[in-house]
Amino acid sequence: MSHHHKPELRRAVTPWGSFSWGYSDVGADIFVGLGLVLGAAAGASNVAFLFAGIVYVCIGLAYTELAATYPVAGGGQYFVTRGLGDIFGFIAGWAVLLDFTIDIALFAWSCVDYLSQLLPIVSSSDHPWAHFAVTVGLIVGLCLLNIIGVRESTAFNGIVSAMDVVSETAILTIGFLFAFDPGLLVHTMQHSWPSPFDLMKGTSLAIVSFVGLESISQAAEETQRPASIIPRTSIALILTILIFALAYSNLALGMHTWHAIPLDAHGHAQLLWQYLGNNDNNGKAVALIAAQVPYWGAIAAFYVPILGAILLLISANSGVFGSSRIAYAMSSGSLLPSIFQRVHKRFRTPLASLLVFTGVALIEVVFAALPSLSPHMADAYAKHFNGESGIDFLGDLYAFGAATSYSFVFVALVALRLADPLSPRKFKIPVNVPFTFRGERVEFPVIAVFGFIGIVAILVFTMITHPIGRIAGPAWIVFGIVLYLLYRRRKRLPLLRSHKRDWRSEQVEILRRAGELELMDQYIANVKASDARAQAGGLSQ
């Protein structure tokens, strides 16, 4: 055949599909985050969630604007490459890749934790080898599912996301109406307020509950008419997730339990938040709180562990999907070798990316499982990492990767507002200061500055309070930079500078492929008007 088409990722995601890709990733976070944050921030868990939640809303708005303006599978790394250049784009993308591999590992791990609520044979504390084997089996299975194709998993995501939204609304509604006591909330906050160190730790873990917006911008490339659909789906997503996170944390601190809470390991009575946040239960906190809700709890005790496990599995799947697509996009932008761009001939999915990043996730699971599998390693972790458990190890790295890449995204948002004022923005973050920059009217996004300060604060909290996050996180970035420099030298591309690209024709092509033809025409008109202005300015001088 003489006519050769370059294989492309196919367009298969509908508006609900794009919401559920995001929801199944971010929505599942609370299943992991709630117990971790309650364990660290105690009576101030709701404050930790509120702080992280405000930062998350800023991040969400930034992603919404950028994904609607540049609907490409690269997500954060594409925006940063375009705004700040190749090397920063690579670092942001590499941090996101860390997050997606952790996403696979952490959520497959937590999925088994939730399953253990009904099947004690896979409990991580009593049967660590069974827990480890099932986790590894799930990750391998997800990899195979993704090699087969995207549409099958998108339909499944949609059904489970809908069931989860209804279920969580029911649990929270009944909990707040029949068991919530504001007096108890105030009492818990006053008497169990954590130390500043623990509050910082809790806040950095709370951002874990809000990671995954990347996946909605990933889905932007596969969504029809993304500029109109993405803002709608992602704002709905941001608000839903924020409300669930705030609701669960307030309920956990101020709810009277329906059943008696078991005594702790030392035989002492414990409050609900202490029970949910201890090491045995923090991996399945949402299932336990659901079981304590009046009336509905009797049913919820059975189905929430299953629903949670399925949602976490889908979230792990979003990690597999997201990492392969980010690697594909980074490879298209000459940030990673071209092998990551190769698409399987029959299934049209990026095979090499799927195998490599699932492999990284498996290595992370091994590191996370080591302390429970071998007493010798448990001693080593206790000595060097303050005795952090497997789930803490993954949580630390997750927070680090997210905070790093999001910090860059805020800077890129500001840079792109200044450098690319011509691209039509169907959605803009509110509160902007207009001024003239290099002859063009631009708008400075004030909220991006607050968001940047917030996310950098969370990055600093992560570095201060997480012994593994502060070593393994920067080590991953340094390792990536070395690989990047070697690759760029081999390809004779500029090492620290960006190679020249024609962003204007690329933007036209992006909008054309996305089906946003009106925006494409508007962009071309803006470019022509800008060129005419520049020419007129040149002639008058």
Binding site: L50, V166, L172, F176, P182, L246
Partner: protein, 60 residues
């Protein structure tokens, strides 16, 4: 499907309103996280109902 959407929006408003009404006697400083949650739920529920109402009218 429409019935479920309306019920979710109403549930959100009822819960949000209940949280605000029950928390207010304890003072804003003591319960600000809960108050923000309640107000957000109230606002989102109302916004969603408004959206569904407009959607329903447009359908007719």
């Amino acid at each position: 499907m429409m019935v479920v959407r309306v019920l979710l929006a109403v549930a959100m408003m009822v819960v949000g309103g209940t949280i605000v009404v029950r928390m207010l006697p304890y003072g804003i400083a003591q319960t600000f996280t809960g108050l923000i949650l309640g107000l957000a739920m109230l606002a989102l529920g109302a916004y969603r109902l408004h959206q569904l109402y407009r959607y329903g009218r447009a359908q007719r």
